[in-house]
């Protein structure tokens, strides 16, 4: 029973981290058609900023903790917007181009290299700010339930924003049809950059709250974006509700496989899951098939 509780809480927490990355991928994808492969390194960037900027001994009761959170969100969002601009400009010249594949992968590599230059090649560690959840035999670091809460807050926040605010509605319009939105007077580039910035801020929140549960080093971003992408595909690309449900399920499955069959099978399981989903439901479990113009 104790083992099941640990697997459920930790698995849901790790899966929520992937769900947050998936939601940030969705946000930028819906507004621009771009899957930002640098999102994993933006997560690590937020972890690095947390490691460097958080004063020693500051906890959730300290105002400095919240100030650092704001600083990390803003800094990462700015990096995300710059990276978005670099990605979007070549696409404006040739709307049908797939230049974004190269520019987002390049962005990921550049960010990784900058992180290595910034903190050195080693892994850096951030303390767990959220205490522990006691269990009958053992405990779970509080960061894992916090990640679940964060995923729920971000999902609900995005729904509210995209249905209640003019800029949110404009992002929705872009996701429906970019050309039509442009024709209706929506400044597409401005809102697409906003989408990149918001996506980076979501990832930054995950990197800040989950900083004690992620590996902070220049070489790790790619792994996070791969798992985030898997969750986005399982949930249905562009579908945040799908990501919110698929992430924790995926995390729990990974932990359970590791517990029952050994850690060596975790990655194999991840790949098997994505292949199975693509075979059975190419649009993802919660995605809708695209209408095709004839």
């Amino acid at each position: 029973m104790n083992e099941i509780l640990v697997i459920l809480i930790r698995g849901a927490g790790v899966g929520s981290l992937y769900a947050l990355i998936a939601m940030s991928l969705n946000l930028a994808y819906n507004a621009t058609g771009v899957l930002n492969f640098a999102q994993g390194h933006l997560l690590v960037t937020a972890g690095v900023c947390t490691y460097l900027w958080m004063p020693d001994g500051a906890g959730t009761a300290s105002p400095m903790w919240y100030l650092t959170l704001v600083a990390v969100l803003v800094a990462t969002a700015v990096v995300g917007m710059i990276q978005g601009l670099i990605t979007l400009i070549p696409m404006r010249r040739d709307g049908g181009s797939h230049s974004w594949v190269a520019t987002t992968i390049a962005g990921s590599i550049v960010l990784g290299a900058l992180i290595t230059l910034w903190i050195g090649p080693q892994v850096v560690n951030v303390p767990n700010y959220f205490g522990f959840v006691p269990l009958p035999d053992g405990r779970v670091p509080g960061v894992y339930p916090m990640l679940v809460v964060l995923a729920l807050v971000v999902w609900a926040g995005l729904r509210w924003y995209q249905s209640s605010f003019l800029s949110g509605l404009a992002l929705n319009a872009l996701s429906q049809d970019v050309d039509a939105a442009r024709a209706a007077g929506v400044p597409a580039l401005k809102f697409q950059m906003l989408a990149f910035g918001l996506a980076a801020a979501i990832t930054a929140g995950a990197g800040f709250i989950g900083s004690s549960a992620i590996e902070i080093s220049g070489s790790r971003g790619t792994n996070y974006v791969i798992f985030g992408f898997i969750v986005a595909v399982i949930g249905g690309i562009g579908n945040n509700k799908g990501a919110l449900i698929a992430g924790p399920l995926f995390g729990v499955l990974m932990m359970y496989v590791s517990f029952e069959l050994g850690g060596g099978l975790q990655v194999v399981t991840a790949l098997a899951v994505i292949v199975a989903v693509l075979l059975l439901r190419p649009q993802g479990i919660f995605g809708r098939p695209h209408a095709r113009r004839v």
Binding site: R10, G120, P121, V123, N125, F132, S219, N223, G264, V267
Partner: protein, 408 residues
């Protein structure tokens, strides 16, 4: 017709040049030690990737030896130049990096790569190119696999045996759980542990493996706990996963002693993850040179070396460093220097043959930091397996020298 003949001659000339060039390129390392230019040392390390911190130590070791050897007059009168390349700790990328060292940089010697997986992947290319090397492998090396190469790390098989022996003799273990990383060294270490457990009549209550990089070992530790072990035997790759193991054991309330392989001595990395009391109930296998029972048996070679490393690279970069690891990469080049000067050649066969016969004696003449070199004809491990010792890596007798707990 004349034109045709000229073309044929031209083609033959060009072909001859290409063949000559190819022969020269393939013959790297076959020249004598009396060449003119600098001796180039290729150093493939995982400069980025999951063991980048360890690679930084290894880089310091090689850089120090290059500086010292050049100050000492070089190798056989020739200056030494190191060429570092990044393997990202990936065997496939290590092969590409090594091919670059062989074909583009035309290196004479190689120190590295860092792991058994990378070493086993790169050895065929190094052997074909006739380049002598000392690598960071701790398993699967013998004269057939590595005709011109030696491993500087502790032999994983002997580590595994020592870990089991200690678990039985010190803790009276009847049931042990084993956790290892999925690389070659982890697998070899685990096989050795399982073999020795059978010899000792001890039950393996659970076994778990994990891939590198890893951020959480809680599910593996929960599986180990199910078997209710008396002792956990750990074969991790870095101090980072050692810290994750301690953290997961703490969270799962698994309070049994841990006996770990050499990588568990990377205390700086482990403490950064699991806190200052990471080694509360933890014993590790290590080299003797950087451990001591008390301040009275601390080796001055080791403390002088630590002082030199700190002076050269500063406190910030060397905080938490495993100085024995730095020293092993530093000693490697000195040993290759002894081999080249002793055999009067950079030819891989001659250098390795000379080292296999004379390493122990040469080690005494060279200013080496480690003190347990004992190579034989049928071994490709530089270190004497009987020299393995047990330490409490979390406690320092003096800065950089860890507490030995056996033979005191």
């Amino acid at each position: 017709m004349t034109i045709f003949t000229r073309s044929k001659r031209g083609a033959a000339f060009v072909t001859g040049l290409v063949l000559l060039g190819t022969t020269a390129a393939c013959g790297g390392g076959s020249g004598s030690g009396g060449g003119s230019g600098p001796i180039k040392v290729g150093v493939p390390l995982g400069i980025t990737g999951p063991a980048a911190g360890t690679a930084d130590w290894d880089r310091m070791g090689v850089e120090l030896s290059v500086k010292q050897i050049n100050a000492d007059g070089g190798i056989d009168g020739r200056k030494v130049k190191a060429v570092f390349v990044d393997t990202e700790l990936d065997p496939a990328k290590a092969v590409t990096a090594t091919n670059r060292l062989i074909n583009e940089e035309k290196v004479d010697l190689v120190v590295g790569p860092m792991t058994s997986d990378e070493t086993l992947a790169t050895l065929p290319a190094l052997s074909r190119a006739n380049i002598p090397s000392i690598n960071g492998a701790g398993s699967k090396l013998d004269p057939k696999v590595a005709p011109y190469s030696f491993g500087m790390l502790l032999n994983a098989e002997y580590q595994g045996q020592k870990m089991v022996d200690y678990a039985v003799s010190e803790y009276g273990a009847k049931k042990v759980a084993v956790i290892s990383y999925s690389g070659t060294q982890g697998k070899v270490g685990r096989e050795a542990i399982e073999k020795q457990l059978k010899v000792k009549g001890v039950e393996e209550s659970a076994g778990q493996e994990y891939d590198i990089p890893v951020t959480d070992l809680s599910s593996q530790v929960l599986a180990l706990k199910k078997g209710n072990p008396d002792v956990v035997l750990a074969f991790p790759q870095t101090g980072n996963d050692t810290g994750l193991l301690v953290q997961a054991m703490r969270d799962a309330n698994l309070d049994v002693p841990v006996v770990g392989s050499y990588a568990t001595t990377y205390a700086g990395q482990a403490k950064a993850v699991a806190g200052p009391d990471a080694y509360k109930n933890f014993v590790s296998v290590s080299w003797p040179a950087f451990s001591a029972c008390s301040t009275s048996d601390v080796r001055t070679e080791a403390t002088d070396f630590i002082a030199e490393v700190k002076k050269t690279y500063g406190e910030k970069r060397t905080t938490g460093a495993a100085f024995d690891n730095i020293a092993s990469f530093r000693d490697a080049l000195w040993l290759l220097k002894a081999g080249i000067e002793g055999s009067k050649s950079t030819d891989a066969k001659k250098v390795t043959s000379w080292l296999a016969k004379n390493e122990t004696a040469a080690a005494k003449k060279q200013p080496l930091v480690h003190n347990a070199y004992a190579l034989s004809d049928d071994s490709r491990f530089l270190m004497d397996p009987d020299s393995l010792t047990l330490v409490n890596a979390g406690t320092e007798v003096v800065p950089g020298i860890i507490q030995r707990i056996d033979g005191c």
